[in-house]
């Protein structure tokens, strides 16, 4: 009896740690898809790109992956702003975002994946850091540092984003662009510029999420596809663009996945997110904390 009790506690803890990480992975999608209504299915590819940058710097120079990801944040921001500019000029301006915009992002996802395969091959890559390996023991509870550190950092990033969106001028402008572009234009604010900044930020989060990912598990180029179902499930369940909702949904999915892999085996975990997504779409499309 006591053994299964341990198992339960540890499955919940592992799920919450995983959920914290999922929140970081999804925050970018919550901004681009949830707030800006840009269906960026290529987001996981940018995350994998972040993982590989952390990997290169870690193996060549020995720097910490999280530190690296913070240093390259501006580069990801610029990349995101550039992608948005192309997207805006080619699709949003012409009103073709539904079919061709989706195909565009799918193409980006595909190109990134194939390019990474060409350069690095399909081998699993991993990083080295002092906190990968040891665990923190509190009574019967186990906190592997490999999970705990990314979780703490992603919660910090998440809080920073929430404060940015709710307290600063730019953050409020981003929330406003989601509600009424015309009104923003009347206030003499260029909605395209606001959206470019917001999309840049959403891609910038991919840099850190990528570093967290490669700390948690070894990475190969096509692993990003597993995250497409997850991030969109979390984003929709969280109520599209509500960051607190996203956090709750991420924790929920993390815990359910952790239970699935503890009691049924890890090979079933990817199916959980999809079940989540379908059930949410079928029964509560507005999410937990729907706007």
């Amino acid at each position: 009896m006591s053994i299964s009790y341990d198992l339960w506690i540890n499955a919940v803890i592992a799920g919450m740690l995983l959920g914290g990480f999922y929140a970081a992975v999804t925050s970018g999608i919550s901004i681009s898809f949830g707030i800006l209504d840009i269906v960026n299915i290529a987001h996981p590819a940018f995350i994998i790109l972040g993982s590989y940058i952390a990997y290169i710097v870690n193996t060549r120079l020995g720097y910490d992956p999280i530190l690296t990801s913070i240093v390259v944040l501006p580069a990801f921001y610029v990349l995101g702003a550039a992608v948005y500019q192309v997207y805006y000029v080619s699709f949003e301006k012409r009103g073709q975002e539904a079919l061709r915009g989706l195909a565009f992002f799918f193409g980006l996802l595909f190109i990134t994946e194939v390019a990474l395969i060409l350069v690095f091959g399909v081998d699993y890559r991993y990083v080295e850091a002092p906190y990968i390996g040891p665990s923190l023991h509190l009574g019967i509870a186990d906190f592997p540092l490999r999970m705990l550190i990314p979780c703490l950092f992603s919660l910090a990033m998440f809080s920073a984003l929430q404060i940015f969106l709710s307290r600063t001028f730019m953050g409020r402008a981003i929330m406003a662009v989601a509600q009424d572009q015309e009104a923003l234009r009347l206030m003499a604010i260029d909605p395209v510029r606001i959206k470019r900044v917001a999309f840049g930020i959403s891609i910038a989060t991919a840099s850190m999420a990528g570093a967290f990912l490669i700390i948690i598990q070894p990475v190969e180029p096509s692993i990003g596809r597993e995250y497409i179902g997850r991030v969109f499930a979390i984003c929709v369940l969280g109520g599209m663009g509500s960051l607190p909702g996203t956090l709750i949904a991420a924790m929920l999915l993390g815990i359910v996945e952790s239970f699935t892999s503890t009691f049924y085996g890890p090979s079933w975990a990817p199916a959980v997110a999809f079940g989540f997504l379908l059930l949410t779409l079928a029964f509560r499309p507005s999410g937990i904390l729907g706007r």
């Binding site: 269906v39 012409r94 079919l99 989706l102 565009f104 193409g107 190109i111 969109f232 090979s267 779409l281």
Partner: protein
């Protein structure tokens, strides 16, 4: 051109293609031609939902694999002739397509697109965990060396895929010129207006999803016999998903001839690139072409030709 005339013409073209292939009489022609024909079916099937209705399906690989694994399942149970397997594969994929559509098509189109993307991952998980059809190890299907009356078995498979391509293209053209096709086009252009004008949008969308899914499943059913060894990673390969989107997008999405042109061009190009360069580079090529076309020539090759004709007419 009347539908039946078109069908006769399509059969005549197919017969000519088959005649030329047998005249060359090299098995490589059959192996390479089979892949191109398979892409014609996939691209045309994708276009019925994507091009006509404007709903993007990222799960072509999943529907294709459904057909392939239905064939493996039935084959292990009781070996049936391939045409029967194609019908079974088509029914299974059509039903799954209908179910997916029913759950997600009532919402905005993007949810359907995302759900199809996730669906591919989940179906792959199911197959990996299902030992009866080989699980992650894969399953072997012994291909008979020859088919009575035709010569090599690959020639028979080639003929079957040729017939499927005729069926798919004819179906697409019939839909395009029918009330159904006008309903689809109304949904694509403005769904709200279509609904207001009395077009039963949900029913039409479900029909499109089922037809499109069924055709993809039919394309997948002979695959185990072609390849001889089916395993999840290659059967669910992203190549199928990206090609079945890229081919109609590059050819042009609003008519039946667009996917046909796209599939023949890209399919042949890839066969050449796979032999001469490498199979990864040719996938990169497809991705770059897809992005380039949606940005520069949003209406594909057909659109470019139409523009040229219009400019000359002035």
């Amino acid at each position: 051109m009347h539908n039946s005339t078109f069908f006769v013409a399509a059969v005549a073209v197919a017969a000519a293609v088959f005649g030329i292939s047998t005249y060359i009489g090299n098995d490589y022609i059959y192996f390479a031609g089979y892949v191109v024909l398979q892409y014609i079916v996939l691209a045309t099937a994708w276009n019925i939902l994507g091009g006509y209705c404007g709903y993007v399906n990222f799960g072509s690989a999943a529907f294709f694999a459904l057909g392939a694994y239905s064939a493996v399942f039935v084959h292990k149970f009781y070996p049936l002739p391939i045409p029967a397997l194609i019908v079974i594969g088509g029914i299974v994929s059509g039903i799954i397509g209908f179910g997916m559509g029913y759950l997600t098509l009532r919402l905005r189109g993007v949810f359907f697109a995302i759900a199809t993307l996730a669906f591919a991952v989940v179906l792959q998980t199911l197959i990996i965990n299902w030992d009866y059809v080989g699980g992650s190890r894969g399953a072997y299907i012994i291909r008979p060396s020859d088919f009575p009356g035709l010569g090599s078995y690959i020639e028979y498979l080639y003929l079957i895929m040729l017939a499927l391509a005729v069926i798919a293209v004819t179906t697409a053209r019939v839909i395009e010129r029918s009330r159904l096709g006008y309903g689809f086009a109304a949904i694509r252009d403005d769904e709200l207006a279509a609904e207001a004008a009395g077009v039963p949008t949900l029913r039409l969308k479900l029909l499109a999803t089922s037809i499109s899914g069924a055709l993809m499943g039919m394309a997948g059913a002979p695959f185990p016999y072609y390849i001889g060894y089916v395993e999840p990673a290659s059967t669910f390969g992203l190549a199928y998903a990206v090609n079945s989107i890229a081919m109609p997008m590059i050819g042009g999405t609003t008519t039946w001839i667009g996917p046909l042109i796209g599939a023949i061009l890209l399919g042949t190009l890839q066969q050449i690139a796979t032999v001469t360069i490498s199979s990864v580079v040719n996938l990169l090529l497809v991705g770059v072409l897809l992005v380039a076309f949606v940005i520069i020539a949003p209406n594909g090759i057909v659109g470019l030709v139409q523009e040229r004709l219009r400019a000359r007419g002035k």
